[in-house]
Symmetry: C3
Subunit: 131 residues, 3 copies
């Protein structure tokens, strides 16, 4: 049985969201189950009506970078990852409280809300990737 | 024997410190040993007299985010994690040098100073989560 | 057989590059194979003629931090890691496209270009550290 790829997705910039979506798609294509826990600014990026409309890059971006944040199709990549394999996207209950959001305000890509305990139950004693 | 959760804690913003503390508490509650290596700006956040007094959020935060950085009780969450299970917090020797800090200037939550080699010895061939 | 340390290196600031190089050197010294996938702003930092000339710190740095970004010898640490053990550095094909770079424009520390699939093939079902 393949060990899952468990991702705590914290960041809400387009480049990090795209990096996370690419990892999820790569793992799903290899047959690894993927568990994603949305926290903080990543959770904010999944709000219905807002998802995929961001234009910010991470502060780690080189000033004057030639690249265009809007060209990063992370929502489509994530949708594809869910078609390719077993990809669970969970909204962190604590971050929902913190941001005063309800799970009904999030895009349909999000499967459920849950706490850190259920995330760890799925992660088993496997690794956690923080993005 | 459960595989440890090994965290390199690099970032000194309240939201990332709270995310790390939550992961540590979750893992400890599941019975996983937790090893935290404090580097750079996270190390700086553990200085006696300064710890828990930060108000900065990560640059990944949405501008105009409704949330209040000061409401993130990461110090208490980390203290609770240490009560729940086996949580080791080590100050990275190289980062102490870099920041011209001595381990005696750090909060009592920090157990010891140590190099990357002792961190890897505890991590075994397990995963490393970088925050 | 030791499980590899697989690093997605995304960030292009001196402090995060140095943290990644230190982890790679520590793992190599322990006999763990290391796979590094350069993405986005980290890839940009490996351009020939530019490598090691950056002076930026992460936005997680404390304003007024006493430390000097230029004193972080990450290129030398990474070179040492490659001498100590089995360290593979791969440029992410998708990020090369995004940044309109060719692998021939990168420093000789970079071994090859490749996609996310070959990175996951080397990672096996092991952990991914995102920096």
């Amino acid at each position: 049985m393949t060990s899952p790829l468990s991702i705590v997705l914290f960041s809400g910039t387009e480049d990090k969201l795209h990096a996370a979506a690419t990892l999820a798609a790569g793992a799903a294509a290899m047959g690894r189950p993927v568990n994603i826990l949305l926290q903080y600014w990543a959770l904010d990026a999944f709000r219905t009506g807002q998802i995929g409309k961001g234009h910010r890059l991470a502060c780690e971006a080189e000033p004057g970078a030639p690249a265009d944040a809007a060209s990063l199709p992370w929502v489509e990549t994530l949708r594809m990852a869910k078609e390719l394999g077993e990809v669970q996207i969970r909204a962190c209950a604590g971050s929902l409280d913190y941001l005063k959001l309800d799970v009904s305000e999030l895009d349909a890509l999000v499967d459920s809300a849950g706490g850190i305990a259920s995330f760890f139950a799925d992660a088993g004693d496997g690794s956690i990737t923080f993005i």
